[in-house]
Each structure stands twice: as C-alpha cells, then as structure tokens.
C-alpha cells in the first residue's frame, strides 16, 4: 500500500467521522456552485484569470523586477530568498534587527512550506498564528489539513478541549461563539504586544508594487496596523501584471473558496507606516525550476482557493493529513513530486482522475492531466516500484497480441469460476477486500460473436 493509501485507511476507520468530513466539504462545494452560478460570466472570468496568470508566468522575470522597483519607490524593502533556509534566515535577521520578541503572523502557506515556525522557535522566537484555524492547530502542534480551512479535520468538541487546556475556557464547552470569543481576547493581547507582523500574500501587483492579502477575520490588518514592522512573504508566482487584473481574481477567489462573494477583508499594502518598516520577501524555493518543466509549469498559476480540495472525492474521504505534503489535495498531488522533500511519488496515484478538480479550478489548471502525466514520468524516471513496472510490462505484452489476450481472458474467466473462494480472495487480491469479482460468463463476447457469425 502507498503511504497515502495507508493514511486514508486510518482516516476511514472512523467512518461516521469520515462522512462528516465529506459532507462538510461537500457543503462548501455546494455553496461555491451557487456563488459561481450567480455570476453569468463565470466561465469567461476563469478563462481571463487563466490567461492573466499565463501571461504573468511567461514574463515573470520582468514583472518581478518591475514589482521590486515600484515597491522600493513606495518605501518598502524587497528581499529575495532562493530557498527555505535563506528565507527563514532573512526573517530571523529582520526580527533581530528590530530587536523584536513578539511576532504575529496571518495565514501563509509559504511559511508552512518552509517550516518557519519551527525554525524561529529554535532561535527563541515564538510566532503566533492569528488565523483562528491556524492558531487551533498551532496549539495542537498539527499541520494544516486544508489550505483555506486549516482545522477542518477537527470537531468543535476537540477545539473546546484544546481551548480549555490552552486558554482556560470552561471544561466541555464547545459553543463556537463562546470559543471564538475566547480566541479573540487571546489574540487581541498578542496583536497589541507584537513588534513584527508577518502576512502571506495573495497577489502582488507589478504595476503598483503593492501586495494584496485576503482574509475573513481581518487578522492580517490587526497585525499590520498594530505592529511597527510588517513583513509580507510571497512566492515568485504571486505576481499579477496590473492593478486592473486584481478584480478578476478577487471575484473568483472567495466564491470558489467558500461561496462568499468576496473575502471579508481585502487588504492592500503599499508603503510602511510613519516610523514603521515594510519588508517584502520574495521566495523561489524550487519554483523557478518547476517553471521550466513544460507539462507542469501551469500548476504555478494556483491562487490557493482550495476549490479543488473541496470537490475532490478522495480528499473528502482521506483528509488533508493523508497527503503528507504541506499542500494537500489535487493541487498538492501535482506539486509534491517536483517540490516535496519527501518525494510525494504516491500522490499522483491518489486520484481516480475524475477531473472535477480541473473543472472547478478558477485559473483552469489541467490538474487531472498533470496527475496522469506525473504517473507516466514517475514510471519513466523509475521512481515507482519495481514490481509494478514488471506487472505493467507483462500487461503490455499480453494486450498487444490477440492470441495472448484471448488466453489471458480465458484464464481469468476460468479462475473466477473454478478457483475456491478462499484462494480467489487471498489477501493479495486487493479488489476482493470490499468487492466481489464479476460472475464469469459462459463465454466471452468474442467467442459469442464467432459462434453466432460462423467465424
């Protein structure tokens, strides 16, 4: 069994809970459908978004330079990081330079990707995640299980227990309003004490040198407005060329993510506060190399809406943690083989290739095609298991000849018919664990055809 399949099995062992996870995310998908259907030009908008991203990726170097020049003019300091280590070090340097001890951070998948919290903690700096879901999993020392809904794997009772332990809420309390209020009070104190506020970036506008952050809780703003030092962290692919492109994405992002018309807060950061400092750190960490891979470059168009996760029938039934990569779900499965240090080679196989992800994607990434392509490339690169390759060679040999094919078919029909049940359903027969084998007919279609057409 692959690593993903093993984790999925564990996830499914508690079937009612798996059903709850599936239904919760399906509800998000349904809301998305309604919100999308309310926009007549939805499909045209997707096409436009896709084209803008293609354009941006094709001119990435120029746009990044333009962005740097504009941002610098605005008074921001732009820094570049080649990889996770350099990125983390840059952030630590900034924090030390400003002699800060209290750091708050709004949601950023990039900092998750680079393991920043753990790195800073080792250096004696505790970063407080201020997105409610992120804070919950931070308390529990877990990874986000979803890129938009990081704590979606948890039930409110579990969150109540965590808050009881960490925030002193009443034992057994699980009322979301009560728990959220407790979190708000807790986070207020952190916001007020912070000297440095970090944020992720949803869009970086080359034309204006500004960065745009979308949140529902306003936590990016709370952080940035209260702390003298603000740091915005972005991957190189967050660039969009023009300010007027932004509307295309903000219309798509929230609708596709949660079914809202727009995120509650769309914050534009352009220049530092009076007496403050603003840093923008632009990170490569494998992205430039990824862009050179023709079949896979378009995965960098992703705006991290999470739509493909919500719609994925496998994700809903295996949970985000089963993917073992910071970005789970369909998009993670095409990023991981290129970018995950753990390899992620099982992930392109953790899909039924149903194609729902590609249909949902607001920037029209051909996710299912890339999953298929990865399967081929991993096999050619001999990164899949030897046994499987051999089995495939045999199958290729059988299926390219009529005689060999007929013989194999006859053998199959004979086996299902005459082998005793205990032999047919040996543990090796993965098919037979939850399913019966088909009842073998008296003759194949081909035999019938020959007989009835006197051939």
């Amino acid at each position: 069994m692959t690593a993903h399949a093993k984790c999925a099995k564990k996830f499914l062992a508690d079937e009612p809970r798996a059903d709850w996870h599936d239904e919760t995310l399906w509800l998000v998908r349904t809301k998305r459908d309604r919100a999308a259907a309310a926009v007549d030009e939805w499909e045209a908008l997707r096409e436009q978004a896709s084209q803008i991203k293609e354009e941006a990726l094709a001119n990435l170097n120029g746009l990044l330079k333009q962005f740097e020049a504009e941002a610098t003019k605005n008074g921001a300091k732009v820094l570049w990081a080649t990889d996770a280590e350099e990125f983390n070090r840059i952030i630590l340097d900034i924090i030390r330079q400003h002699k800060a001890m209290n750091v708050v951070k709004s949601k950023s998948m990039l900092t998750e990707e680079c393991g920043m919290n753990a790195f800073l903690l080792k250096a004696g700096i505790e970063v407080v995640d201020t997105d409610l879901g992120e804070r919950i999993i931070q308390f529990r020392h877990e990874m986000p299980s979803h890129i938009v809904l990081p704590a979606i794997h948890l039930k409110k009772e579990e969150i109540g227990a965590t808050f009881h332990e960490k925030l002193g809420t009443a034992a057994g309390a699980s009322d979301p309003v009560y728990l959220t209020h407790a979190a708000r009070l807790h986070l207020r104190r952190k916001f007020l004490a912070a000297e440095v506020a970090m944020t992720g970036v949803n869009f970086a506008v080359a034309e204006t040198g500004s960065v745009v952050v979308c949140t529902n809780e306003g936590n990016a703003d709370m952080g940035v407005q209260a702390a003298p030092v603000q740091i915005h962290c972005m991957g190189i692919e967050k660039i969009i060329p023009r300010q007027r492109d932004l509307g295309v994405f903000t219309r798509l992002l929230a609708r596709n993510a949660t079914g809202q018309a727009v995120t509650t807060y769309t914050s534009h950061y352009m220049r530092p506060k009076p007496q403050g400092a603003m840093y923008i750190v632009i990170v490569d960490n494998g992205r430039f190399k990824h862009l050179t891979q023709r079949s896979y470059a378009s995965s960098l168009k992703c705006i991290r809406c999470g739509g493909c996760l919500n719609t994925c029938p496998v994700f809903r039934r295996s949970g985000g943690h089963s993917y073992g990569y910071v970005i789970p779900g369909p998009i993670g499965s095409i990023l991981a083989p290129e970018r995950s240090r753990a390899g992620g080679i099982d992930l392109p196989f953790a899909s039924s290739l149903c194609g729902s992800c590609s249909n949902v994607c607001p920037v029209k990434i051909d996710i299912h095609e890339q999953l298929y392509r990865w399967r081929q490339d991993l096999t050619l690169q001999r990164r899949t298991s030897f046994v499987k390759r051999v089995a495939m060679c045999v199958a290729g040999f059988v299926l390219s000849s009529n005689a060999r094919y007929n013989f194999a078919g006859a053998l199959g029909r004979f086996a299902v018919k005459y082998l005793p049940r205990f032999l047919l359903y040996l543990p090796l027969n993965v098919w037979g664990k939850a399913r019966e084998l088909p009842v073998p007919p008296r003759e194949s279609f081909k035999q019938w055809y020959k007989r009835s057409h006197n051939q």
Binding site: S351, L353, N359, Q376, T379, K388, W431, R435, F445
Partner: protein
C-alpha cells in the same frame, strides 16, 4: 446514409459482460448501421496508461489502429475507452490512419445522438433508474453538462433514456460524483475506492432506484462488486442494455 462502423468491445466487457457487447451490436444493427467486429482486437491500453506505463502501451495502441483502420466510425460502449483512443493515442506516430481513428471514435451514446440523431427509439424499461455519470464520459467526452461548470444544462444520456417507455429516472443528491473505480486507483487505493463506491450506491438507494445505469461498464463492475458483497437488491445495467430492451 449507411455507415461502416467498427465495433470496439473493451476488454472487461468482452471478458466479463458479453451481454453488453451483444446489446450494443444489436442496437446498432436495429438502427440500420452496418457493424463489423474486428476479431483481432484486444484493448485500448487504458489499464497500462492509467497506471503510468503508457510507453508500454504503444504496441497495444498500434495493434488497435491496425484492427480498426478503414471504418467510417469506431463505436464503443465505453466513455472511458473512447477517450483513451481520442486523447491518449497521441504518443504514437500520427499517421493519417491514426488521425482518422482518433477523430472518428465515438462513445455509443454520443454516436446515437450526434451522428445517428436517434429520435423515437423503440425501447421499454419500466423501472426506476439512477444514472451514474462516469467521469471520463462526463467531464472529458462531455456527454452531459458537469456540475462544476456554469453552462447550459444538457445530457446526451438523458436525451436517449427519455425515449425509453416506462422508465423513471431518479434524481440523485450528488449528480456526478465519482464512483471510485478509477482503474488502477481501485487497487492502489482500495479503501477510498470502496468508500466512494458505497457512498455512490447509498445515493441511488436513498432515491429508490432499482437499477444504476452508466455508459461505462468498468464503474458498474466496481459498484456491482460492492452491491454483491453487501447483498443488496439494487442492480446494475449498462445503458446499451436499456436502449436495446
């Protein structure tokens, strides 16, 4: 106009569900099509390609092209296999024969609606039927509008089933969720695959279906395997069998 049609019967239908091949052949003949079943045919190579070994399938693709050259159309009772030929035969040399084959391979339903323009089919199937919209036929071959896309709603499958006397089509909660077969996926991810299948079955049961139908027998084979294991009365039937009833 009489077409010269090559009938492609996918390997699992040939081996395990000959009645589906027979229904397809008889249906096409009833509609006045001249059908030839090339005896040397094997498989479209999908099991290999789907597992990541399309390079091993090239010989199989060429054998396929060899079997099916010279027809006006190639018709197959499988959305998934039709897509395989149309889309994934791009890795072999694109001779005129290959190009013609890829352009003229049709899944049965779309051949009936788009080429034969069948209207007033004489069939009778007085049962409650749920339609399982197999993914490749739906999202890749575009046999019907997909729930994710904001587009005009249409369905070539319903267009045909609506012509069947006595049939009652049941509406499902999730009209086009995957059943979890997915070829290799069914054995690489057996737990998720089976769970998806159970959920798909439950949706049909909730709405009182007696039969689950589809244009892809592979999905139905997976669902049937679960139904029989669970000893449930719900039955599966390929759409060709309904249209030929």
């Amino acid at each position: 106009m009489r077409f010269h049609v090559g009938l492609f019967i996918p390997c699992y239908i040939d081996t395990f569900y000959p009645q589906v091949g027979i229904a397809t052949l008889r249906l096409l003949e009833r509609l006045g099509v001249e059908v030839v079943y090339p005896l040397k045919q094997t498989c479209c190579g999908q099991p290999l390609a789907n597992s990541g070994s399309e390079h091993e399938a090239a010989a199989c693709y060429r054998h396929f092209v060899d079997c099916f050259k010279g027809f006006d159309y190639v018709v197959t009772p499988s959305g998934s296999c039709a897509w395989q030929v149309k889309h994934h035969f791009d890795i072999i040399e694109q001779t005129d024969e290959v190009r013609h084959l890829r352009a003229t391979t049709y899944e049965l339903c779309e051949f009936l609606t788009d080429i034969l323009k069948v209207d007033g089919l004489k069939a009778r199937f007085p049962h409650r039927v749920g339609i399982h919209q197999s993914c490749h036929g739906l999202r890749l071959m575009k046999l019907a509008s997909a729930s994710e896309l904001i587009e005009r709603s249409y369905s070539k499958v319903r267009q045909l089933l609506n012509q069947v006397e006595g049939i009652e089509i049941v509406e499902l909660d999730r009209k086009d969720e995957c059943c979890g077969f997915g070829g290799t996926f069914s054995v690489v991810e057996p737990e998720v695959s089976a769970k998806m299948g159970r959920d798909r079955i439950a949706d049909h049961e909730r709405h009182g279906a007696e039969y689950i139908t589809s244009y892809d027998m592979s999905c139905l084979m997976h669902l049937e395997g679960i139904l029989r294991r669970q000893k449930k009365p719900l039955k599966i039937i390929h759409i060709a069998e309904i249209l030929n009833s």
